[in-house]
Symmetry: C2
Subunit: 221 residues, 2 copies
């Protein structure tokens, strides 16, 4: 290893550039020149650009999943197998998301990447994340199910994705929004401020009254 490992220098540079411009708009030449490594190094170490993209995500998601699993284990123990309140579940998730990048990466970058993973077509990425990290999400959803027994399954499914949209959308577009907010309201917002604002909104969204059932033909149950 030189001063810092070539591999990590590539990853550090790539994640920032990807977050700023997207995947297709970031060339390997831009990455390698800004990282001061050889162009061939990416294909040598990762094999391809797609693999680089996945590696960037893995560096965030791998520690996230183990931490989140641990946090959920702890939560289940503390509640003795009983139902865990929704607020605690959301709180735990938020805390874990905050902890992981705090170690040495940027939360902003992490969120932008998540936003990109959803919006950019990049089929391979969605599949990779689904296959590699789907199980944590499944476990979380099951716990949320027990915490909100009054919600029909389909309704809970959609609401979870509603709030997922809120979080990813807001945090991934944070810079632009923050600029407007600071200009108009002379108020500096940190990511933690945002999460504090997010909490009551998310809880209220999950607990909103059910919509009028508009099934074409009502059927029993």
């Amino acid at each position: 290893m030189a001063q810092t490992d070539t591999v990590t220098r590539i990853l550090d540079t790539a994640e920032v550039l990807f977050a700023e411009r997207g995947f297709a708009e970031t060339s390997l030449r831009t990455i390698t020149s800004k990282a001061r490594v050889n162009l061939a190094a990416v294909n040598y170490h990762f094999g391809s650009k797609k693999a680089l993209i996945q590696a960037v995500f893995a560096r965030y998601l791998d520690p996230f999943t183990v931490r989140f699993h641990h946090a959920l284990d702890e939560l289940e123990v503390r509640h003795d197998g009983g139902v865990i309140p929704l607020e605690e579940l959301l709180e735990t998730m938020a805390r874990t998301v905050l902890e992981v990048p705090a170690e040495k990466h940027s939360l902003k970058v992490f969120m932008k990447l998540l936003g990109l993973a959803y919006s950019q077509a990049q089929g391979h990425l969605r599949r990779y994340i689904q296959d590699e990290y789907g199980s944590v999400f499944t476990r979380f959803v099951e716990l949320v199910r027990r915490a909100t027994p009054e919600l029909p399954d389909a309704e809970r499914f959609w609401r979870l994705h509603f709030v997922l949209g809120t979080v990813i959308f807001t945090l991934s577009g944070l810079d632009a929004l923050r600029d407007i907010a600071e200009k108009d309201y002379q108020e500096h917002v940190s990511v933690r401020d945002l999460i504090r604002r997010l909490r009551p909104v998310v809880v209220a969204a999950m607990n909103a009254p059910l919509p009028p059932s508009a099934m074409p033909r009502a059927k029993a149950s």
Copy 2:
């Protein structure tokens, strides 16, 4: 004009391809060949690829803004200059969004495009939309302000973007989500179903209790 105008044939093809794969991932050659139009036609009629992208958005946003302005005019008249309830404002916006593409374009495409406009870096697009259509949004925000006087300005700003995230995120990723939902819950969801589900959630989110003030120095409130 031939069978259908070359310009509209380009726009029709481009908007679908852009929505499916994103801007950078869609080449002019793909567009023109699928539209059965000459490659040079795009640069002849629009000048550049950037201008094509903006034209695709303009075809949706131009009729949207005039309709939305009219709807807001009507709403203000009906309430005699008084305060318009939040529910009616949201309802009006939803109705307008639904009406515009219904004429001859796809709502799904429209929503995917909006999602792309936010997520894809494409600085020029965000600037174009902001400059060209910012005023309607400003007017809407001002009406929402009067409808929610108890909300601090900054809080309302963030909550509006929270729900904006929910809507755009959900509707732009609709296809993927719908596939999962139908598989897991044997339930077909139309866009209108989704909006029905969205309404109580959005209202609850806007009316959520204020977060604990975490200002560095607490001030009486």
